[in-house]
């Protein structure tokens, strides 16, 4: 029989996924891919919430996770609408080229 998984592994997994999300955010150039990395980050945080909720045997973590999901959905909707607008105005999906706020 394999030994049971300690909870800390779940948390470390969450950390790794979050780091991957950040890496995607920093290294990818297409806006849509950047958005997907953001979603990945949010998912990693959800995992962390649920893991802690398991530890303390309380349901509050699930509630928070639920709210995060809702907000992530709303954000995805609005964010994609913004991407559409930016694409309309700039004609590009590379975030490096949207830099008119540069000094």
């Amino acid at each position: 029989m394999l030994p049971p998984v300690p909870l800390s592994w779940y948390l470390i997994l969450s950390a790794i996924l979050f780091a991957l999300g950040v890496a995607g955010f920093l290294y990818r150039k297409s806006i849509i891919t950047v958005f997907m990395s953001i979603e990945l980050m949010l998912n990693a945080v959800n995992l962390s919430f649920v893991a802690f909720s398991y530890e303390y045997r309380r349901i509050d973590g699930h509630i928070y996770s639920f709210f995060v999901m809702v907000v992530a959905a709303a954000e995805a909707a609005v964010g994609l609408a913004i991407i559409l607008t930016v694409f309309k105005n700039r004609g590009t999906l590379q975030i490096d080229e949207v830099d008119s706020m540069k000094l």
Binding site: I12, A15, F35, N43, D60, V70, F87
Partner: protein
């Protein structure tokens, strides 16, 4: 049994995550993301969060990712071109990330109190009934506010994306 499941689906999640970063085409990245979300849903089930797992699949996998794929196909996003404008992100990103993971790992192992093992079946408290109870009593205000937030998001998305794209 749970250990095996955990290891399999953790690995799947991590591999899909790496795939998300390294794929050139957005569609491939989107599919990788769906993979990540599904694995996470299984992990939620292992942790006894059945409602959340279902919500994850329905909301994320069914709605958000579909939306993403719609937009990718609508904008005809192709493969990315190379650019070197953001030098700081490219140079400092990797060291920072490694540092980040190391710090978090250290904190988790050293600073948190002793965490219990995870066994499937130890806790079944994540039922829809429990969540519903909390949601409509203790977290009523956030619930209502979230509803208004969704409403605003809908309106915002409609206004922003109003005109036709040729």
């Amino acid at each position: 049994m749970d250990t095996v499941l955990f290891i399999i689906f953790a690995v799947v999640a991590i591999v899909c995550g790496f795939n998300l970063i390294f794929q050139k085409h957005p569609i491939s990245s989107a599919l990788s993301l769906i993979g990540v979300m599904s694995s996470l849903a299984v992990l939620y089930l292992l942790l006894g969060a059945e409602f959340i797992a279902m919500a994850q699949m329905i909301v994320y996998g069914g709605a958000v990712m579909v939306l993403f794929i719609f937009v990718i196909m609508l904008l005809n996003a192709g493969t990315e071109k190379a650019s070197s404008k953001s030098w700081f992100a490219q140079f400092a990103g990797l060291p920072l990330l490694c540092l980040f993971v190391a710090v978090l790992a250290f904190l988790i192992r050293a600073a948190l109190p002793a965490l219990p093992d995870v066994r499937f079946g130890r806790w079944f408290g994540g039922t829809a009934e429990n969540i519903g109870k909390m949601l409509f009593t203790q977290y009523l205000l956030p619930f209502e506010v979230i509803s208004i937030l969704i409403l605003i998001a809908i309106l915002g998305a409609v206004v922003l994306a109003r005109k036709e794209i040729d």
